[in-house]
Symmetry: D2
Subunit: 380 residues, 4 copies
């Protein structure tokens, strides 16, 4: 694995490394860790890389790595930069034959996402998108239970993602994470909805297997002087007639990372809360609610494939993240070895999910700032 | 106290009696418990009433009771019939000089509610509306904490009320509660939104002190053949600029009575959940969340006035309900004795809250069934 | 109902009245509410009693009430005084033909309890002991589930009752509840173990159906100058070979009233926590844990008989307390009417449970203060 | 790092590798993964090791590795075999100059533990013991809060560790984990108390800073035919006068890994539950309980040093485990570089904690099987 971004001063890059390395399947071999070469080199050294595998530009990295012998060069690149630096390195990586892991939202604009999809199709390389929350084993169990009809035809999806860290103008107080996320030039046309709304949107479609067809939104910016939305909600209509409510806010003062989803069907309901991530509640009209738990023998094969510890030994955020890397790496290894990946290895978000996220952003922004448009069809 | 409705076959009447009697301040002295005189008389006997204080019609009850000596006659009437039998007995009771307790929603239509308000004003009698959830001590504590500015200016209100008991067509299976609630002739123009949406709406305004000014809703009927909404959601704009999301559904299969409210201000947030009703969460951006509990010495005077047991001895739904009766009875006793009620005694929902609920119903129904109208101003 | 104790300045008396009156089956008709006649009369008036039914001594009350016509006189007396004033009024009440409700622990000493039992047997009157926690509907459901073998043969019982209110010397700071409870002359030979240890002990035997046969305890007094135990724990051996741990402490600073019981059998486990009293957890080795809830249709007949509100409308401490009064009053009414009480009406703690509690106190005190005696057989 | 044990068929070895590798500070370079050379070699290959670094015996490994150039050879060995194969490889590793990580309990007997301590002292090598639960960031925060006196002088420690996985005789059904743990020849003189009781005992001393001085225990074997205890409880007296209750059981059917600790002092209490590992409850007599959370800015420097993700992104069991490896590796690197380790790096369990665990096992076994000995002094 090589990295674009992820210098020792960066947050999400460190998460990617932890997630990639823990399973002893992936090795960090090179990187362009920062636009600042000094930071890049010092980062590389702290990651035990020789200076020759630290590059000043990602362009240089792709070119030089692609000329190394296959046994030496990186197999894929992980792009962990702010949104506006996703598209170009991803395209270049694909063109140079590398598989790609990229953070969400996939690109700066929907148009870029479609171009990226075209390049993925053209090159036959694999692109994984780190919608982390779909990596939790019990989230996968939830999807399987929906698929096999446990809760019947879905009627309602409530997905909410309240955070509080942007309750005040921290972007002016040196918070680098806040700084680019609230800057339309680096983040794109949505703030909160791009950063966490897309996670919520993806999770709902991932578990339910449904597709949103139209939505009606209200977007707000509560902190004075902020340039992008820091709060919003959307009513959603899904393709089977189900209705949803999606809440995403970063001004819910005092909330940490409280992503929660509840889905109700004709026969029962389910609930999952990211901050107690190893529990899936199954609720029934006529019998006691059940607490389904990661690591239990009764979970399905897909959940088990994504579980590392026995029940009661909590798997956390990093293990969910690592599941994306593990399935991605199993898939690309199979491809490199000319084998067919097992179906459960292919269970990671791809460029199609990336496009879906960008469509959501475009739609929610259009609806959210209009006082007259009620239902807006999902952009294509 | 006299009763209209509340025969031994009725649900909410029994709740009203429990709530009214537990504090040893109110005595049941008469009633017209059913349109079926047989049920009415047998009910009366099971409540230890002499037959002469059981009446065949409420009209008869008001007339005869009003001619009894003051020391004997009922002081107020509790109307616990389906919505379409609220208005007439309430008007008659007021005209005959009785105070009134009435279940929500206050009337069949907004127009009736306004007429009732006029009669309350004209007669100077007191009308209490049983929005039970505002009776919980810690809900009152929440309101006080908002008032004194603990969480700062409010930005967000999330209130949700998921139930699952109408997930299938129980109204066809002999469920009497479901039968009238899903019947537009007996319930009014809203089903779920009238039955529980009004509770959620009231709770949000009660705690926050804010007033909704416009809303954008989506109403649905999921169970085939049902005549009223069994599900809905609304985006709300409040008079101080805060935004809200209100969810009310009766098809959330497996949910019991899961009313929850979360309010976020510039300085902090709060959360209350009806099924763990003695806990108020206070959340802060920069220090640990706090669990504020009913019965603790640190709660304020208003919470204490509404608390019966020490911390850790759970107060339940009936005690919340009883607080409405107790404050109402303290108030009417003061009035009967020519005294001024203490401010904390006046803390129960009144005809004004009833009107507010009917305005909500009218507004949410108009918005909820329109695919083009986005924001609808609250009806007046 | 008449009362001994329970003046307007008393805590537990108010609880007894709330519990007795809410179901509209019991009327307060007389009382001797305080040793101070002034408080007694003013209390009586505030309870709407005529002065002639307020008595200066309980002796006077029993004599005068017993001479009133049957339709007028009290049917039973509720004794809500400190422990050292339980025995004499109870004996007198029984001798005068009255049924008795009495707070726990039943008497000052085991010997008194046995004498009381003899008098109950002699007079054929009914004595109910208010071990409140066995009044919760879902606790009764737990007992039924044990009885029908859901968890198999019981192996382990963990019961714990941590409170924090005696963490400092509040008995010197005017706390009347603390004052008599920590005074060996008024409370008996045990403090914490008598006050709450007996509740925990009773609950374990009530749900499990087992009998403790020997125990090994450690009693402590942490607050300097206090005269009775404020903390303790006991290892217990039950008659079927099961082992238990009982914890009772009143110096767990910050705890409210955190009674919890967990029972494990060969086939599964169960857990109940008094501060979330409507939930019973059923735990299984090979399938998801289940959350069994008060008010659900799937609960058994005995739980239903003791439930007033639908699922999700929390029943609290007062309703649990009221269940003891209701079953007791159904029983004595049946007896007064010459009928056989239904089995579920007889489900309230009696003088036998009172004796059991006193045996526990004697045993735990002997073991708890000995550094050499390990297992002490339960006193008889 | 080299490994003894941890073949691809082993449970705890995989956990050790995940924990060791995730921080990109440690590389697996060699191992003797199984007594079965075939498994050992195939395991080595699946860990991407060349065959020459996979050894048939640990003796061979220590000898050959110690002769490799310093830059190539392993720096330390991780011993992840059953208890009876701890002592010999540990002694050999130390003698050959390697640092050691070892799973708990440290050895088969207290005597072995003392010999190991002598060897550690003699060689100056570092030995880390994987009492995982002390690796959680918020557990470290708890210890710091005790140290700075937040809860005052400690009075009570309740520590409990219920598991259910040994409720039936799974050791006869092919469960390898159960097989050696219930075998006195491989596990030592204690079963449950050695396996999980030592964790609970360590956690209590770690957070509280206290030392147990005597205990009174009851040990049981519930599953017929089992050769070691599968359940037990102990009353404990600590060196400052505090009293404790320790519960450890593996027959609590339906429980996963429910380690919980509660500590109460003169000024407040605290509670931590392993299955919600990022929350520390602080409880107060006179103000709301506080929920202290991993990753929050208000946590102390030691918690922060051991935290990888922001608040609300759950850290799990593997991260706690990894903290032991990380602090250990920071320490040995400092030593190898001739530097002084920072104090927070030294925060991992050592050979002294291992001896303490063996002393606990000896004491609890002596007391637990005696019907006459009440208080037994901690073995030395």
């Amino acid at each position: 694995m090589g990295m674009v971004g992820g210098g020792s001063d960066a947050f999400i890059g460190a998460i990617h490394r932890l997630a990639a390395l823990m399973d002893n399947q992936i090795e960090l071999v090179c990187g362009c860790f920062s636009v600042n070469p000094e930071i890049s080199f010092s980062s590389g050294r702290s990651y035990f890389l020789p200076d020759k595998r630290v590059y000043k530009t990602y362009r240089e990295m792709f070119e030089k790595e692609s000329k190394l012998p296959e046994s030496e060069r990186m197999d894929f690149v992980s792009i962990v930069t702010p949104n506006f630096v996703h598209f170009e390195p991803a395209i270049l990586a694909l063109e140079n034959g590398f598989h790609v892991v990229i953070d969400k939202p996939i690109t700066f604009s929907l148009d870029e996402a479609k171009q990226l999809k075209a390049m993925v199709d053209k090159t036959g390389r694999i692109l994984a998108l780190t919608h982390t929350y779909s990596g939790y084993p019990i989230v996968k169990e939830a999807r399987e239970r929906v698929r096999r009809g446990d809760i019947g035809k879905i009627r309602k999806i409530f997905v909410e993602y309240p955070q509080g860290w942007l309750s005040s103008k921290v972007e002016d107080a040196g918070n680098m994470q806040a700084s680019w996320r609230t800057d339309p030039k680096r983040s794109g046309k949505a703030g909160c909805m791009g950063d966490i709304g897309t996670h919520a949107f993806h999770l709902a479609e991932y578990i339910s297997g449904l597709r949103a067809v139209e939505l009606c939104a209200d977007l707000n910016t509560f902190v004075p002087g902020r340039l992008l939305d820091d709060d919003g909600a959307a009513l959603i209509r899904y393709n089977n007639g189900a209705r949803g409510v999606l809440i995403a806010t970063q001004v819910a003062a005092g909330e940490e990372n409280a992503l929660k989803i509840r889905i109700y069907g004709e026969k029962g309901g389910m609930e999952w809360f990211q901050m107690e991530p190893n529990t899936l509640w199954m609720k029934w009209p006529d019998r006691p609610a059940e607490m389904v738990r990661t690591g239990q023998g009764y979970t399905g094969a897909i959940a088990k494939h994504n579980t590392r510890t026995p029940a009661g030994h909590p798997e956390g955020y990093l293990e969910a993240f690592a599941n994306i890397y593990r399935n991605f790496s199993l898939t690309i290894r199979a491809i490199m070895e000319g084998k067919k990946p097992a179906p459960e290895w292919l269970d990671f978000p791809t460029v199609d999910d990336g496009i879906r996220g960008m469509q959501f952003i475009d739609t929610v922004v259009q609806s959210g700032y209009s006082d007259s448009l009620k239902w807006v069809k999902m952009k294509e």
